[in-house]
Subunit: 171 residues, 2 copies
DNA sequence: TCATACTTTCAATTATTTCTGAAATAAGTG
DNA sequence: CACTTATTTCAGAAATAATTGAAAGTATGA
């Protein structure tokens, strides 16, 4: 591989890791994801360990997490007992998977929590302002939840036109 | 304040902190924000220190960060040399500020990074697949950037109706 | 102006998260 | 089944991030 290409790939992997970190995702997990995305062929855990200089355990755990997120899948080649990993190929599908997981992991729990707070706060006059604010936030979080739910269920081809329509209306 | 109301507020503050953490935001920063959101009156650094059991320095730094994000503003009362802090009141405006900041801090740098990678990768046949994948990701990140840009520029009243209308169309 | 009440900063500390490596487990092979 | 090779797990180590507290910096009202 040309030196420039190699270095460009490394740069991309690092940037993707950086971004992951900013959004609350393990940096190594994001780097593994990046590596798989730009790899033409399936990779083994050893390939990843070597490429990113991480331990076997680390590679294993992050690969599992990526599989749990639906961003990577396992693949085994016949007549080879090694396990291979392949990234979801399509960027839009990836985006949908991420939306689905974040909705489930991070929005739904907040919605429940706010609901519980509303219940616990009671209906005293004293709590009125608090309830009002909570309801306002709930509306917002629910809308986000709804949006991510929609995105999470879309198929690749369906997303782009709809998003663009939406943007036009907002312009 | 009734015991239930107090405990409901505490629960909310903790949940909000939790959520912040999941999205890559300092947990204490999110708790301070939550506290200010549900507080009727402006609070001083001392109020926050006491309420959340954090040090003066910690309170100061996280308050500054919230001000930088445009989620909180400083307010001073005449004949009182203390500084007070008030949360942005409107949840939608808050949402817009967050969109704006995250776009600036976390999407724009990734766009530049991918651009740089494309430049560095060169135009060899060997790099074709890499360029293709990068362009696909770039399209996606740019769209997200565009969406956040739109949201970040909206004013309160304008956002909700438009988003809701379009969501119905997507149903 | 200046004493003082308040705020910010930052080196040191503490807490949390992430990572490693080796042991345990599983899976494929002959 | 016994053996080999691949994978997972997890306790401890390392790295990173958050927090403290005290010194330095500011601004206000008398």
């Amino acid at each position: 591989m040309g030196a420039d290409l190699k270095s460009a790939k490394e740069r991309f992997v690092e940037s993707w890791g950086q971004m992951g970190g900013a959004w609350g995702i393990n940096k190594t997990m994001a780097r593994v994801h990046a590596l798989l995305m730009i790899s033409d062929a399936p990779l083994t855990a050893d390939d990843i360990m070597k490429e990113l200089a991480v331990s076997r355990g680390n590679a294993s755990m992050n690969l599992r997490a990526l599989v749990d997120w639906g961003l990577v899948r396992r693949a085994s080649l016949p007549r080879d007992r090694k396990e291979y990993f392949v990234s979801e190929k399509d960027a839009w599908t990836m985006c949908c998977r991420i939306a689905r997981e974040r909705k489930k992991r991070e929005l739904e729990p907040v919605i429940s929590a706010i609901d519980d707070c509303l219940k616990e706060a009671g209906s005293d006059k004293e709590a009125a302002a608090f309830r009002k604010k909570l309801n306002e936030l709930l509306e917002l979080v629910r809308l986000l939840d709804f949006v991510l739910g929609k995105v999470g269920n879309q198929e690749r081809a369906a997303v782009l036109p709809k998003v663009l329509t939406l943007l036009k209306a907002m312009a």
